[in-house]
C-alpha cells in the first residue's frame, strides 16, 4: 500500500482546460472520493493517476516515486471500471485468479490467494460456480475480487456502482466501505453521487470546471462549505440560500435579513455593501411561532424518522428537516428559527464563504 501525491496537475485538451493545477495527497490507506458533475475533471484526474492520460503539466507521486510519465502497467495500481465485466466462460475461481495467472504466478499460490480474497468478500462458498448464473451482487463481488487479488498499491474506481438501482447501490456502498475497513487499500473513487462520497470516503475533493473547490473530510465539507457550489452540491436537500444586500464588519454577530435581525457566527472580515447569501442547512431550521421570519407551507415530504417541509418565504423556497410527529397543511403559516452557530454566509459574486467563527470552531466527531 502507498500514498498518492498530486502536485499542480493540469490537463488541457486543445483550448479546453479539463483539470486546473490540482494538488492533493491521499495518505496510505485513505479513501478519497473525487466528486462533481460530469465534465468537472474528476475522471480525467483519475485517468492521469492511472497513466491512461498524460498530464499537460504537474507531477504524480506513487509511494514517493515520480510516476508521472510511467506506463499504466508499470504503476502497480488496479483500475475498476463498471464492476460487471467478467469472463462468462470461466467460473468464479478462474475469474478472480486470472490476473495472477497472466502474471505467471505458481498455481498453488494462486489458489491460496484466490481463496483468501474470496473469504474477504464472503464469496468463498461459490468459488466453483459459473459466473453466468450469479446474482448481481455476487457478480460485483467477483469483479471486485479480481481487482484486489493482485494486492496493488492502490485502487482507482470510476463510478463502479453507476448502473445499479438505488436499493442495491446502497448495499454495495456499505460493502465497499467494509471491504476498505478490512484491507485499508489507498483508494481514489470517482462519483457524481454526493451520497456515495459522503458514505464511503475519508476525504472528498469537490470538483467543478476542472478546479477542486474544496478538499476535506465529509464532515468539514458538509458543515463548513468553502463555496456556494459545494454547499449546494452536498446535502439532500441541499443548503438553503437566502439572498440579501448588506455590508459586514469584522466582529458582527448578526445580519439584517428583510428587516429581521438574524444571529450568525462571528464575522471575521470587513466587507463592503454587496449581495450576500445566508446559507442554512435544512436540519438547522426549527418552526417557532415566535419568529418574525415567516412563510407558508408549500409541501411536505414524510420520510419516516423525519420529514422535509418546504416553506415559501419572501426570500424563496426554504426546506426544513423536522421531526415527523407533526403534520402540516399546504398554505399553513409558520415561523422559521435558525440554529445561529451553524449558519454560513457567502459573497454571491465570488461564491466564496465569508470567514466567520463557523470555520474556526473545533471539529466534532
Amino acid at each position: 500500500m502507498a500514498d498518492i501525491r498530486i502536485e499542480n496537475l493540469r490537463k488541457e485538451f486543445g483550448s479546453f482546460v479539463a483539470v486546473q493545477d490540482s494538488s492533493f495527497t491521499v495518505h496510505d490507506g485513505e479513501f478519497l472520493a473525487l466528486l462533481g458533475p460530469s465534465g468537472c475533471g474528476k475522471t480525467t484526474t483519475l485517468r492521469m493517476i492511472a497513466g491512461l492520460e498524460l498530464p499537460s503539466s504537474g507531477k504524480i507521486y506513487l509511494d514517493g516515486e515520480d510516476v508521472t510519465f510511467n506506463r499504466a502497467s508499470a504503476r502497480d495500481i488496479a483500475f475498476v471500471f463498471q464492476l460487471f465485466a467478467l469472463y462468462p466462460h470461466m467460473n468464479v475461481r478462474k475469474n478472480i485468479g486470472f490476473p495472477l495467472l497472466s502474471q505467471g504466478m505458481a498455481k498453488a499460490e494462486i489458489r491460496a490467494r484466490v481463496e483468501e480474497t474470496a473469504r474477504l468478500l464472503q464469496i468463498d462458498h461459490i468459488l466453483d460456480r459459473s459466473v453466468s448464473g450469479l446474482a448481481g451482487g455476487d457478480r460485483q463481488r467477483v469483479a471486485l475480487g479480481r481487482a484486489i487479488v493482485r494486492r496493488p498499491k492502490c485502487f482507482l474506481m470510476d463510478e463502479p456502482l453507476g448502473t445499479l438501482d438505488a436499493e442495491f447501490r446502497e448495499v454495495m456502498v456499505h460493502e465497499l466501505r467494509e471491504l476498505h475497513n478490512r484491507i485499508h487499500a489507498t483508494t481514489v473513487y470517482v462519483t457524481h453521487d454526493q451520497h456515495e462520497a459522503m458514505a464511503m470516503a475519508d476525504k472528498i475533493a469537490v470538483m467543478n470546471h476542472g478546479v477542486i473547490e474544496q478538499f476535506g473530510t465529509p464532515q468539514e465539507i458538509y458543515a463548513k462549505p468553502a463555496t456556494m457550489y459545494v454547499a449546494d452540491f452536498i446535502g439532500s436537500p441541499p443548503m438553503n440560500f437566502m439572498r440579501f444586500n448588506s455590508g459586514l464588519k469584522s466582529g458582527d454577530r448578526s445580519i439584517l435579513l428583510d428587516g429581521i435581525d438574524v444571529a450568525v457566527p462571528e464575522i471575521h472580515q470587513d466587507m463592503a455593501e454587496s449581495e450576500l447569501a445566508l446559507g442554512v442547512r435544512p436540519e438547522h431550521i426549527r418552526f417557532s411561532d415566535a419568529s418574525a421570519l415567516r412563510g407558508a407551507v408549500y409541501g411536505s415530504e414524510y420520510l419516516g424518522t423525519n420529514q422535509v417541509v418546504a416553506v415559501e418565504t419572501p426570500g424563496g423556497l426554504i426546506r426544513a428537516r423536522v421531526p415527523a410527529n407533526r403534520s402540516f397543511r399546504i398554505g399553513e403559516r409558520v415561523g422559521l428559527e435558525f440554529n445561529p452557530a451553524k449558519l454560513a454566509l457567502f459573497d454571491c459574486r465570488s461564491g466564496r464563504a465569508v470567514p466567520s467563527s463557523l470555520y474556526q470552531e473545533t471539529r466534532h466527531g
Binding site: 459522503m198 464532515q219 435544512p282 420520510l303 466527531g365
Partner: protein, 335 residues
Amino acid sequence: MADVVLRNLAKRFGDTQALADLDLSIRDGEFVVLLGPTGAGKTTTLRLIAGLERPDSGRIEIGGRNVATEAPAERDVAFVFQQYSLYPHMTVYENLAFPLKAPVRKLSAEEIDRRVREVARMVRIDHKLENRSTRLSGGEMQRVAIGRALVRRPAIYLMDEPLSSLDAKLRAELRLELKRIQKELGSTLLYVTHDQVEAMTMADRIGIVAEGRLMQVGTPREIYGNPANLHVAARLGQPHINLLPADLLPGGRPPAGTKTVGARTEHLDIIVGKDANAEIDWIEHLGDQNHLHIRAGNHKLVTLADPYLAIAPGDRISLTLRDPLYFDAAGQRLS
C-alpha cells in the same frame, strides 16, 4: 376524475403469475403509489387498467363502470411511461396541445391555449413553449411528457416510474411539484415505483406489492409505523430496519411466538460506555445525520445518530430496545 376499483385481478404470462387476486380501490382525487421491486406486478397492474393487457380474471371499474369490453382509448386514462416519448418534429407547445386536438374532444382553440399554458406553468416548462422538443434536456422532456398527460383531465392518471430517468436533484423537485399539481387538480393518480422515497413522500396511500400480490395498503405513516409483516417492514425506512433474534438486546417485551425483532432508529436507545453490550464498528458521516454501524454479538445493526453525538469507532455502548416491532416465524407481525 373518478374512483377506480380493481377486484380479484389476475394475470399470467406463460409460467409466471404476474398478478394474483389483486384488490384495490382508488378513491376519487387520491394519489396511490404501488411500491415494489422489478417484476412484482406493478406495471402489469397499470397496463391492465389502461387496457393494454387483458386480465385472465377479475374486474376493473372506472367511475363505476365495468371497462372489460372497452378499448384503451375509450377508458379515459392517461399513461405516463418511464421513457418519455415526444413528437420530435413538434414544439413543446404543439406536443402539449396534441392530446386536446382530437376531434372527439371538441375544444375551442382558446380553451386549448388556456390549458396548455396552465399546465406548462405547472410543470415549469412555460419558458420553452416554442422550443423544438428535441432541443430539451432529459428533465425538460420528461416534464413535457407529464404535462401532456395532465392537459387531458382523464378519469385517472397512470404513471410508470416517470421520474426514474432524471437526476437526483430534479427528481426531488418534481416530487414536490407533482404532488402539488395532483392536489391542485384534484386528480386520481396511480403511480408505480421501486423508490421508497417517492412512495413515502407523494402517496396518500401506498400499496406494497411483491410477487404479484398486494401485501398491505395504507398511508405512509401506517405502512412505516405499523407494517403487517417482515417484507413490508423491510421495504420502508433508511437505514433499513434491523432484524434481530428475539433475545439479542434487552428492553423488549416479545409476545409468545416471537422469532424476529424489528428495530428502527426510533426503537433503539444508545448510552455510551454504560453496561456495554455492543460496539461501534464505523460511522458513516452523511452530513445532517450519521449512520452508526454497530456490532452486537454476531449481529450488525445500522442506526441514525445526531452528527454531534460524541462517539467514535471502537466505543462500547449499551443498546436497549424501546417498543420495537415483533414478528413470528412466518414473518407476520405480532402485537
